[in-house]
């Protein structure tokens, strides 16, 4: 009787903490796991030119080198940086990226026609396009678009670092602490990255602050020609 009680408690504990997997946004929700909509990370930081802000959208992570050549952006997946510049956590501007025929097309920063989870491409705010850098290219292909916005899209080393395996062991009760030094589970893996560097003045930050979140969205009506 007592053993059964312990087993039930343990099972309950594993269920609770088993649902909590610690990673940036890797190992994400069932509907997007392994899909072209699967976000891994968002970074927002000052450029080398401190008049600019850099925004990075990483997706389709944990790519082994052997899988990277076959990974590709999806012409039906819209990648979107949502930017709140007045502190109410509703997007005032969006920067959008979507691939077509091997080129990543960028739009924005523009006031979105629709806020929330159902959106459209802000076609009238076209920035420019950059050829997606092929896996194996000697150097990254970059392009400059309207308003001096720099653009890049292609496979990159995954910049995220974490001893995810040891954390799983801790959650499973097979370890009580991290190792020192730890082992980076993301070492040697790649992601698909979209990187854009934007003059800060285009972001119209109120009180010197913006709130940013990254979304991926699927086209409702299938392949866009």
């Amino acid at each position: 009787m007592k053993r059964r009680k312990i087993a039930i408690v343990m099972a309950g504990l594993v269920l609770v903490i088993g649902g909590i997997v610690f990673a940036a946004d890797h190992m994400d929700a069932p509907a997007v796991k392994g899909q072209t909509t699967d976000i891994t990370d968002l970074y927002v930081f000052e450029g080398n030119n401190t008049d600019n802000m850099v925004l990075v959208a990483n997706s389709q992570g944990l790519l082994a080198p052997s899988s990277t050549g076959a990974a590709s952006f999806d012409p039906n997946t819209l990648i979107q940086f949502k930017i709140d510049n007045d502190g109410d956590n509703v997007e005032d501007l969006v920067i959008q990226a979507i691939v077509k025929d091997g080129w990543m097309h960028f739009f924005g920063p523009a006031r979105p026609s629709f806020t929330g989870t159902r959106t459209k491409i802000e076609e009238e705010s076209f920035i420019g396009a950059v050829q997606v850098t092929p896996y194996g290219a000697a150097s990254p292909i970059v392009a400059m678009g309207a308003h001096d916005i720099k653009m890049f899209a292609g496979p990159r080393d995954d910049p995220f670092f974490f001893d995810l395996d040891q954390f799983h062991k801790i959650l499973a009760g097979n370890a009580t602490s991290f190792n020192n030094p730890g082992t980076d589970a993301f070492a040697g893996t790649n992601v698909l990255s979209v990187v854009v560097e934007v003059p800060k003045k285009l972001l119209h930050a109120k009180d010197g602050k913006i709130n940013v979140w990254l979304t991926t969205s699927k086209a409702e009506s299938g392949l866009v020609k």
């Binding site: 929700a29 970059v142 001893d163 991290f178 979140w213 086209a219």
Partner: protein, 174 residues
């Protein structure tokens, strides 16, 4: 005569409708896109949202997150660290969840951009920021960051390869 007029009228009507209707239609060249995944700060969905709700979190707008997921996030914080009182930022569990439950990444447009460097708090997220250690410390480290010493750092402090010196900043693929 009457037939011809009718025919002309029908044609005009059809033409007008074709033009007017197309303007109002959601043409195939310009579809709507439905949100699938979402991210603000690192690890929020993965740490604080229970497995059955992860897909729902990904299609919830930030302003709706606290009311929909606030309790769940607090429960999961306490499930991870049942001894949680406050953390290095001086936040109670309610205050901590109050900060993280709106999942957006704040960034300063006037100063250093970093997740946390000991001085600057949530002013961006740079490639080299050890966001994991920051979050582990805030969850497990107690009021001065020294509690649970085995859990407040994974001792992986940097990326496996150096970043580029310039745009696009991320290192080339392996």
């Amino acid at each position: 005569m009457k037939t011809q007029l009718t025919r002309l009228f029908t044609l005009l009507l059809a033409a007008t409708c074709a033009i007017a209707c197309r303007k109002n239609q959601n043409t195939p060249q310009s579809p709507f896109y439905d949100q699938a995944d979402q991210m603000g700060r690192p690890a929020i969905n993965t740490v604080f949202i229970s497995a059955p709700d992860k897909d729902k979190f990904n299609v919830t707008t930030p302003t709706m997150m606290p009311s929909v997921f606030g309790s769940e996030m607090k429960n999961n914080l306490l499930a991870l660290n049942s001894g949680y009182t406050t953390n290095l930022l001086g936040l109670t569990a309610d205050q901590f969840i109050g900060v993280v439950s709106t999942d957006v990444l704040s960034a300063s447009t006037t100063g250093k951009t970093t997740f946390f460097d000991g001085t600057n708090v949530l002013t961006g997220r740079a490639l080299s920021d050890d966001v994991i250690d920051v979050e582990l410390t805030l969850i497990f480290g107690g009021p001065d960051g020294s509690a649970n010493p085995g859990l407040t750092s994974d001792h992986v402090n940097a990326n496996d390869v150096p970043f580029l010196g310039d745009f696009p900043y991320l290192a080339g693929p392996h």
